[in-house]
Amino acid sequence: MGLFENFFRGSSNKSAALAKERLQIIVAHERGSGRRGSPDYLPALKKELLEVVRKYVPVDPSQIKVHLDREGGYEVLELNITLPDEEPRSRRSSESSQKPGQS
């Protein structure tokens, strides 16, 4: 849309701009939990992982974080389990499997 048209039309008709802005926000938010961010199977995966880990270590459900990232052609599944030490620390899953906490 040209500058002149904008000028003559005034700013009364901006509803499409508002619609676009609202959509960009909601769509970005929803993609975080669906498209391109994390696929639909993540919640189930997280639940099952938690069940397995809890067979060995009494972790709190809130202490497991599963995150999927897409970088270029790669997909990186990141798994963070905080083990219930004296001082809880956050570690990568590979470390935690080497050194399980008390059980």
Partner: protein, 270 residues
């Protein structure tokens, strides 16, 4: 090798069936053996839009249940050669669409057709999931309006995660945007999302823009896919869309307002 194309949207009433009918008719007109399947079990409509409602004997669910064979159920279009319609059942519900059943029917259709067009029901429930599951390509029909755009984005997420291609880790479903019921004057005035706005949000390639047009209602009254109304704006837009799908590089029409405003005339913009 047959190509399966789903016409989908999430939101209801945006023009899926209108698009399915014209897209399938256009492919057939251009010489491709084409079948269009109504996945809207319980709310069959494609037969009306295609003008073959009085010739329906058996339907998709009959085939899935083995109550009839495909030759008995397929309706040959009387106007366009190479075009067949597989109607939905009007009496069953969408639970009748089993994945195995749908797969069996599609595999049989693949033997005889080059393009299999699946007219999806609205929503993201079983019927819609079944319609998109086996797709190789998807026409995502969107209206320039907030809820339609949001639902299209949702459907794109489902195509990327819950289609057979996604589940098997194959190449993803090829996505195409069909922006339907577009009113260029309103977009120019700033009270309707523009083509660019929608493209920017959804981020998938634009296959065609179909203008809001009285020809669509008129042709549906007559039971003729609007693409066969060659002189109508919507018909011409669908025609271009089919050519683009088949690889032609055509400019988009019907995206700028017909009558130029005073300033556009003055400054030659447009």
């Amino acid at each position: 090798m047959a190509t399966v194309i789903v016409v989908t949207s999430g939101k209801g009433g945006v023009g899926k069936t209108t698009t399915s009918a014209s897209f399938a008719a256009g492919l057939a007109q251009r010489g491709y053996r084409t079948v269009v399947i109504d996945f809207d079990v319980g709310l069959r409509n494609l037969d009306l839009i295609m003008g073959c409602e009085r010739r329906v004997v058996y339907d998709f669910v009959n085939i899935i249940n083995g109550e009839a064979n495909l030759n008995q159920a397929l309706i040959r279009d009387k106007r366009v050669e190479n075009l067949h319609i597989l109607p939905a059942s009007q009496t069953r519900d969408k639970e009748a669409l089993t994945r195995e059943g749908v797969e069996r029917v599609l595999n049989e259709l693949r033997q005889n057709f080059e393009y299999i067009v699946c007219d999806s029901p609205a929503g993201i429930e079983r019927g819609a999931l079944m319609a998109l599951y086996f797709a190789d390509e998807a026409l995502v029909v969107t209206n320039p309006e907030v809820s339609s755009v949001r639902d299209s984005d949702r459907i794109l997420g489902i195509l990327a995660s819950r289609s057979r291609r996604a589940e098997q880790g194959e190449n993803p479903v090829k996505e195409h945007l069909v922006l339907a019921r577009y009113a260029p004057e309103r977009a120019d005035r700033g009270d309707m999302l523009s083509v660019e706005d929608v493209l920017e949000i959804l981020g998938i390639p634009l296959l065609g823009v179909i203008p809001e047009s009285p020809a669509v209602l008129q042709s549906s009254n007559a039971g003729v896919p609007v693409i066969l109304e060659e002189d109508s704006d919507a018909g011409a837009a669908y025609s271009d869309l089919v050519d683009r799908f088949l690889g032609k590089n055509l400019p988009h029409r019907f995206i700028t307002a017909q009558k130029k405003g005073f300033l556009k005339r003055l400054f030659g913009g447009g």
